[in-house]
Assembly symmetry: C2
Homo-oligomer: 197 residues x 2
């Protein structure tokens, strides 16, 4: 096919051009209806170049939202005791926010962006659904794995919002150990306990 008018492959701004195109399309059309081909067309590059820079569509979404960590690396292996998964999840998530300041800054920006308007919320929902919630489902025992993972997500999301974005004093001042002890059983119950009592 003719490639007249397309930018030369690998130009210095190509990566950013692709990311900007991806953010636009993900925000307007959501993840499912956005194709690598459509992103390439909008960025005026070859689809192979999108794959070359970013890999899969999931990886492109993560790059578009600047997810600063790989959820699988952070949450994927929680040790051998399934009854400790809830506490360990809370500890890992808090550890991520408490660690590198640049990571925390990008997580704050990601959540603020994702909560700022409907289009961005679509991005955040897709991102969580395809990364964090999918990882969480790996720790679910029981019926309704998607609801269980999502409920665990609401608690952990609310906790990091309260502690790091809003700064509610009691949860901002508590130690990580206190929060792991208090919130771990909640997450554990959502993952493996009874959902109706």
């Amino acid at each position: 096919m003719a490639r007249l008018g397309r930018r030369p492959d690998g130009g210095p701004d190509t990566r950013e051009t692709i990311l900007a195109a991806a953010r636009d399309l993900f925000a307007v059309n959501g993840f499912d209806r956005t194709t690598i081909r459509a992103v390439a067309t909008r960025a005026e590059v070859d689809p192979a170049l999108v794959h070359h820079y970013f890999g899969t569509k999931d990886q492109l979404l993560a790059a578009a939202l600047e997810l600063p960590v790989d959820p699988v690396a952070v949450l994927g292996d929680l040790g051998d005791d399934p009854e400790r998964a809830g506490a360990e999840l809370v500890r890992r998530v808090l550890g991520l926010w408490e660690g590198d300041p640049e990571t925390r800054r990008r997580l704050v920006a990601l959540m603020r962006t994702g909560l700022s308007h409907d289009h961005a919320a679509t991005l955040l929902r897709d991102l969580f659904g395809r990364t964090i919630l999918l990882v969480l489902q790996g720790f679910v025992a029981g019926d309704r794995p998607e609801l269980r993972a999502a409920l665990a997500g609401t608690q952990m999301g609310g906790l990091v919002l309260g502690r790091y974005l809003v700064g509610v004093p009691a949860v901002a001042d508590a130690s990580v150990d206190e929060l792991v002890a208090a919130v771990g059983p909640t997450v554990q119950r959502y993952l493996t306990g009874p959902l109706d009592r």
Copy 2:
């Protein structure tokens, strides 16, 4: 004192002028360091007029953030069974969001505003601390009432964010009864249960 240059009391825009002044000062200085007198000075009205329109400083903050409901009216009386308070709280909060569309629109706007940047987060923290968390503390039995109320707040905040702002499918599609059954015990435990197991 001279009142030259002040707007005539009760002019048609006076109420909005006071609200705008209050939003500015609350956002920059936070709740504690903002006085009714300072709001009046900025709005160029008499402090008595601020009290006349808005009552206490708490009521002024609620008006400035357009809190569309009175938390005490929604949450203040949860019935006679303290062991059902968690479930009843979840039901009331979801009922508020599921009811009047205009209320829901304003709640979404309030949360988006409050999470959008640091100054607004200060407002949201003050608002929650002085209204919702204070009401929640009324249902606490056990040590650390502030932490208990705040933890209940993180779960309910995360739930409404997931369901109404982000639209995480599993929690957006669940029925109110299912969410009350699943999340009620979490809130109940934060309010009255052991915090460390």
